[in-house]
């Protein structure tokens, strides 16, 4: 029966959802700690080391502080939208984790449980749709603040997303031509048996990486919160946990885009030089998850490393880079990939 409600299935998915949401929150929490530590180390400082051993409780203290701050909603703001802004930023940030394959199937209670909340067959399109919604959080929040600095920040965020989403999408089309599927799970399976996509699409990956920086509003593309021109940027008027949500959403976005990049180009939960089929299924799922997390941590480190290395782009440089460098490059990459695939399919020789 198609509509029969499978209770175990629902419970299994619910548990998975809770775990994924909690995990991305905790990882985002410790990403803030990692950010501060890495910033400190790169600048020859020590970083937070007072709260707990090595300052490990610092994110908890930060969170508590944000909770206890006075919550201010400006009189001149549009109240409903003002609250909607950070909620949307947070919601869209968390939602993208739904289609990511966190690991292979595990066998528990005589059931094969897939470590993926939903294996949507247009997975990557879902991710794109959700991630681009994230900018609405910023735009709505900044507009509702009724503050010119916030509005400027929001406008910048919007134009930046439009400019970079194009190049990102085109670089992704080249990748999709290679894989021939939109499902993230299938992409990982392909990479497990064959080579990682980074070897087929090095240029595509580079473009995707740069655009991911822009999508996450990370330095060098953090013009939306350029504090020396725009005070706080889009979150000038925000305080307390609503500000916390915005800051947190940035870190969750970073985590999600790291996961996506690892899945698309670096084989997801694939452990290199190891044939997973030869070993116990549950252990391999666990190790696969660990492999994915290792890749993700490397990406997050890269995000932070870049942030503490280079200054912010000027607005015209940002637009130049997006429209006059990245989009032509992405188009070239797409044409090249298409041509190579054609040659291969038709066995053309020169």
């Amino acid at each position: 029966m198609l509509l029969a409600i499978d209770l175990a299935f629902i419970i299994e998915k619910l548990v998975l959802i809770v775990i994924v949401v909690m995990a991305s929150l905790v990882i985002a929490m410790y990403a803030t700690y990692g950010e501060r530590k890495i910033a400190a180390i790169l600048q020859d400082r020590r970083g937070p080391n007072r709260a707990g051993p090595f300052g490990i409780l610092q994110p908890v203290a930060d969170g508590l502080k944000l909770f206890f701050k006075e919550e201010i909603i400006p009189d001149f703001s549009s109240k409903f939208l003002f609250i909607l802004g950070p909620s949307m930023a947070m919601l869209t940030a968390i939602m993208a984790g739904a289609v990511v394959p966190w690991g292979n199937q595990i066998h528990f209670f005589n059931r094969d449980i897939s470590l993926q909340i939903a294996d949507v067959n247009v997975g990557i399109l879902f991710v794109f749709a959700v991630v681009s919604m994230g900018v609405y959080g910023i735009m709505i929040g900044s507009w509702a603040s009724n503050n010119k600095y916030s509005l400027m920040g929001g406008l910048r965020a919007a134009s930046q997303i439009i400019s970079y989403e194009l190049a990102m999408g085109i670089s992704l089309i080249a990748l999709l031509m290679v894989t021939g599927t939109l499902s993230l799970k299938e992409m990982v399976v392909q990479q497990q048996t064959g080579y990682w996509n980074i070897f087929y699409q090095p240029l595509g990956f580079l473009i995707f990486l740069i655009c991911a920086f822009a999508e996450c509003n990370r330095t060098p593309f953090d013009l939306a919160e350029a504090e020396n021109e725009l005070i706080g940027g889009y979150h000038t008027e925000y305080s307390s946990m609503k500000l916390g949500f915005y800051l947190f959403a940035e870190y969750i976005n970073m985590f999600v885009s790291s996961v996506i990049m690892a899945t698309l180009f670096f084989g997801g939960y694939d452990i290199p030089f190891l044939n997973e089929a030869n070993y116990d299924q549950n252990w391999m799922a666990l190790f696969g998850l660990m492999a994915l997390m290792t890749k993700v941590v490397c990406f997050i480190f890269l995000f932070m490393w870049v942030r503490w290395t280079i200054p912010r782009f000027r607005y015209d440089q940002l637009m130049n880079l997006g429209w006059r460098v990245l989009i032509p490059l992405a188009l070239f990459n797409m044409l090249l990939t298409g041509a190579l695939i054609l040659f291969k399919q038709n066995n053309w020789h020169f």
Binding site: I41, L42, Q43, D44, R45, R46, N49, L206, W305, V306, W308, T309, I310, N320, L321, R324, V325
Partner: protein, 184 residues
């Protein structure tokens, strides 16, 4: 025009080519520089746990000295107060009574001795002026406080711990100070 130094560098004003406009090479170079900083020694001193080593002539908080038997050296002559350019020292003299010989070394002593640490400039002229080696500047900082009046240090706060009754604290307070020649 002649250059002031030999480090003069001509500014490169030619247009950037495509590779340079990608910024990637420059960014990568910068990232290598920051990465090398991971392995650099950090100059930070973990302050409350560790302190910076001071030179032997460091001038910190004042200490009122005692002799080996634990008697106060100060005779309330007032030379330190006169020498003080910031006028941070006040004192009141009193005469030693019979039976107080174990407390004060000479027949006159300071009944009240106060230093205003907010006025003090830690110049050490009081130490130089003192003929009895009764006051010297230690290696401790003036600590922070919430009220201004707490910075007026009285005799109890300034006196060094008793060398016999509280030998350990005395030794710690003394530090590695080289004792000045006393004129008796």
């Amino acid at each position: 025009m002649q250059a002031l130094t030999n480090r003069l560098k001509e500014v490169d004003r030619r247009k950037m080519n495509f590779l340079e406009r990608l910024y990637l090479i420059a960014i990568f170079k910068g990232m290598l520089i920051t990465f090398s900083h991971i392995f650099k020694k950090k100059p930070t001193i973990d302050y409350p746990e560790k302190t910076r080593p001071f030179s032997p002539v460091f001038r910190g908080l004042h200490i009122l000295n005692r002799d080996e038997a634990g008697r106060e050296n100060c005779t309330a002559c007032g030379l330190c107060a006169v020498a003080c350019p910031a006028e941070a020292i006040t004192m009141e003299a009193a005469e030693r009574q019979v039976g107080e010989e174990n407390l004060y070394r000479e027949e006159k002593y300071a009944a009240k001795y106060e230093i205003n640490m907010l006025r003090c400039i830690f110049c050490g002229l009081c130490e130089e002026a003192c003929p009895k080696d009764a006051i010297y500047l230690s290696e401790t900082f003036a600590p922070a406080d919430y009220q201004r009046k707490q910075f007026i240090y009285n005799k109890e706060e300034l006196l060094i711990p008793h060398p016999i009754e509280n030998a350990e604290a005395y030794k710690k307070a003394l530090g590695n100070r080289v004792k000045k020649e006393t004129v008796n």
